[in-house]
């Protein structure tokens, strides 16, 4: 069986539209050989869950600049409710320290802050994909 490349949804939920981060990360993951599903900003949580299910992604990357990370716990809840708890969620952007702890507690796999390298992000997506697939093999 050939290994499929990781499939990752790169998105922004909530109200903010600053998308430099999500665009740069999406293009870097694509260049790293991954399959990237990209959405414009302003997505509803329900739309993200639906897209993740339809596209069967391994990882969801949520980019946040202006406090939209505060509704990521709602996304985690919605994913669980849809039975998609095996999809790993990464948050990237401006996340204050105190909020990072809350996000990890809500089930977020990893928070990338400004200054993170594209190579590290790609490596993490790869690692989380392998973990998910190992889980789903049985």
């Amino acid at each position: 069986m050939t290994t499929q490349p990781p499939k990752v949804l790169v998105t922004k939920i909530g109200l903010d539209g600053h998308d430099r981060g999500s665009r740069v990360v999406a293009s870097a993951l694509r260049d790293a050989g991954m399959e990237v599903v990209y959405t414009p900003p302003w997505q509803d949580i329900a739309a993200v869950v639906k897209l993740a299910m339809e596209e069967d992604v391994d990882v969801i990357g949520v980019s946040s600049l202006a406090t939209d990370h505060l509704i990521v716990p709602k996304l985690m809840q919605a994913l669980r409710a849809a039975g998609l708890q095996d999809i790993a969620v990464i948050v990237g952007g401006i996340v204050p320290d105190a909020d990072e702890a809350k996000l990890l507690e809500a089930g977020v796999a990893k928070v990338f802050h400004p200054g993170s390298s594209l190579a590290d992000i790609a490596a993490e997506v790869g690692r989380l994909t392998r973990a998910r697939r190992a889980l789903n093999v049985t």
Partner: protein, 559 residues
């Protein structure tokens, strides 16, 4: 005394220039070409051979076309720059308390940053409550605007509203002024970032109506202000978003000037006289850490605009030729790592803007890469301006770098880069068409990626990120100020009560007139927005009507 040591008789025949070249080559760190962020190759030394321009035609005096040395005769020797720090958080009462505090500390100009929900065209009861007031003030009605501006003399205070099309906040402010009996003709300020194209291609914050509708509302807004609020600047053309999104300084200046041409053409097509609207055009730019490049960018931009307004538009009034701009230090250049280093970065960026001849400045707080700024961070940002203005002798001489072989040569080279990008946009059919085609978005995306790769490869040093890293605790990082949830809950409850208590007939009628005007190009749509605000319609209701009539503005995003 030291005598220069030569390599014998051969050296005696060298010119000073040749000798310098030889000695430079022997000791230079690298022979790789050095390029600035815009891709201009920068030489190690500039001499009189590098600039032989015509002083009168290309530089001239401050306050005289082509304004390379500044748009006013006295520049910072007359008025320095306006200190226009952005503020906005929480409820209208929170905002007003902070505003009055800043006015007491010497701030002379109001700036109002609304909550992201307002930016996106929604009322507070239409969005996730967690997000309310975290990045700006939650103001949806004329009552909220009255409370925001309580104690502010609207006839004497310049107000800048970060207010996307259809300019509802400004409409709410006009309604407030009318209630207070303030003559609209005395009101001054700016519809910050009314440039919908910059939002469509870059940060997508202010963009909420499909492109053709946004285009019409802006022209109507400019025309309305020309007639009724003549001291208001309805047009703020923005390079800041595009540079923050990744455009190089030259690209950002080029796109901004191309947008300004587009907006001026649109006004002209509506039959407005150029000298009626061009004096009310203002510009807003990002200032990166690339000090000399930014200075050259601003000097070149002024010169190009002076030529465009006279040669392309035939403007006769010198006020139409002047390139007035607000600068904001670049947040993208700030780092989360060792955040106090950002104070040094902001200082350098602010200096670039000051030497570049800006009229108004916002300095970022050092903690903006961590969260919305704390009050502590905001105070340092204000004092950075105070130090630069009053301690550092930066304002003693007008355009102090004018005549520098390097800066003049770089100004010319940046001008050429800018004109090249503008020609690309022009051949795509102008800025509106170039944006519709995705040309601008693609260029910005490619430049953003290119810069990130330079950081990753170490070609571009970022202290604390790819060099000079240290282990950090969380101690240096302050907590994010958050709005009080209880106050926000009662704000929402009061808002719902307000909606129930107002005259539903007046609201319905105003909404009906607004919808009808959207379908009738002969009417001024913004005039109907103002009427709706006066009739008690909420911000979200006005936006919803226009979204329905003019289409929702989903941006074309290119990856």
């Amino acid at each position: 005394m030291n005598k220069p040591v030569d390599a014998g008789t051969l050296a005696a025949q060298e010119t000073a220039d040749e000798r310098w070249q030889r000695e430079f080559a022997a000791s230079a760190r690298s022979d790789k070409p050095t390029r600035n962020r815009s891709g201009v190759e920068v030489k190690p030394l500039y001499t009189p051979q590098d600039w032989s321009g015509d002083y009168a035609a290309e530089l001239g005096y401050p306050g005289q076309a082509p304004y390379t040395r500044g748009i006013y005769a006295s520049m910072h020797r007359g008025r320095t720059w306006s200190q226009r720090q952005l503020i906005g958080l929480g409820t209208p009462a929170d905002y007003n308390a902070r505003l009055l505090e800043m006015i007491a500390q010497g701030t002379t100009a109001v700036s109002l940053i609304p909550c992201n929900s307002v930016f996106r065209g929604y009322d507070m009861d239409e969005v996730h409550a967690e997000l309310l007031g975290t990045c700006g003030v939650v103001a949806n009605t004329v009552e909220h605007m009255e409370e925001c501006l309580a104690g502010v003399d609207l006839a004497r205070t310049s107000c800048a509203m970060n207010d996307p099309s259809p300019f509802t906040l400004f409409a709410l402010m006009l309604a407030t002024a009318k209630r207070r009996g303030v003559d609209w003709r005395t009101i001054s300020g700016t519809s910050n970032q009314s440039d919908y194209l910059s939002h469509y291609v870059a940060n997508h914050m202010f963009f909420r109506i499909a492109l053709p509708g946004a285009r019409r509302v802006l022209s109507d807004h400019i025309e309305f202000c020309n007639r009724h609020v003549p001291n208001w600047n309805p047009m703020s053309v923005v390079g800041q978003h595009m540079q923050q999104a990744g455009a190089t300084p030259a690209e950002a200046m080029a796109f901004t000037l191309s947008s300004a041409i587009q907006y001026a053409e649109d006004c002209r097509a509506r039959g407005m006289q150029v000298d009626a609207f061009l004096p009310r055009f203002t510009f807003f730019f990002d200032i990166s850490l690339s000090l000399f490049e930014e200075i050259a960018k601003f000097r070149a931009g002024r010169r190009i605009w002076a030529r465009i307004t006279r040669e392309r538009f035939g403007a006769r009034d010198p006020r139409s030729w002047r390139f007035k701009f607000h600068g904001q230090t670049s947040g993208v250049d700030l780092t989360r790592q060792q955040p106090l280093n950002n104070i040094a970065r902001v200082t350098i960026q602010a200096m670039a803007g000051i030497f570049g001849g800006l009229q108004s400045l916002h300095t970022d707080a050092y903690d903006e890469a961590l969260s919305c700024p704390t009050e502590f961070g905001a105070r340092i940002a204000v004092n950075t301006q105070n130090i630069l203005r009053e301690e550092a002798h930066l304002t003693d001489v007008i355009d102090p770098l004018g005549g520098s072989y390097y800066v003049e040569s770089l100004t010319d080279e940046m001008e050429q880069k800018i004109l090249d990008v503008m020609a690309q946009v022009e051949s795509a059919g102008g800025m509106y068409a170039a944006v519709e085609q995705g040309l601008v978005q693609k260029m910005i995306g490619a430049s953003a990626r290119g810069f990130q790769e330079q950081v990753e490869s170490g070609e571009q040093t970022v202290v604390g990120v790819n060099a000079y890293q240290v282990e950090e605790g969380a101690g240096e990082r302050q907590a994010l100020p958050t709005p009080d949830p209880a106050k926000m809950q009662s704000h929402i409850a009061a808002f719902k009560a307000y909606k129930g208590a107002r005259s539903q007939a007046a609201v319905q009628a105003a909404q009906g007139r607004l919808a009808a005007a959207a379908g009738d190009p002969q009417q001024n749509l913004f005039e109907r927005v103002v009427e709706a605000a006066e009739a008690g319609c909420t911000h979200g209701e006005i936006c919803a009507t226009l979204r329905r009539e003019l289409g929702f503005g989903q941006p074309l995003v290119m990856v």
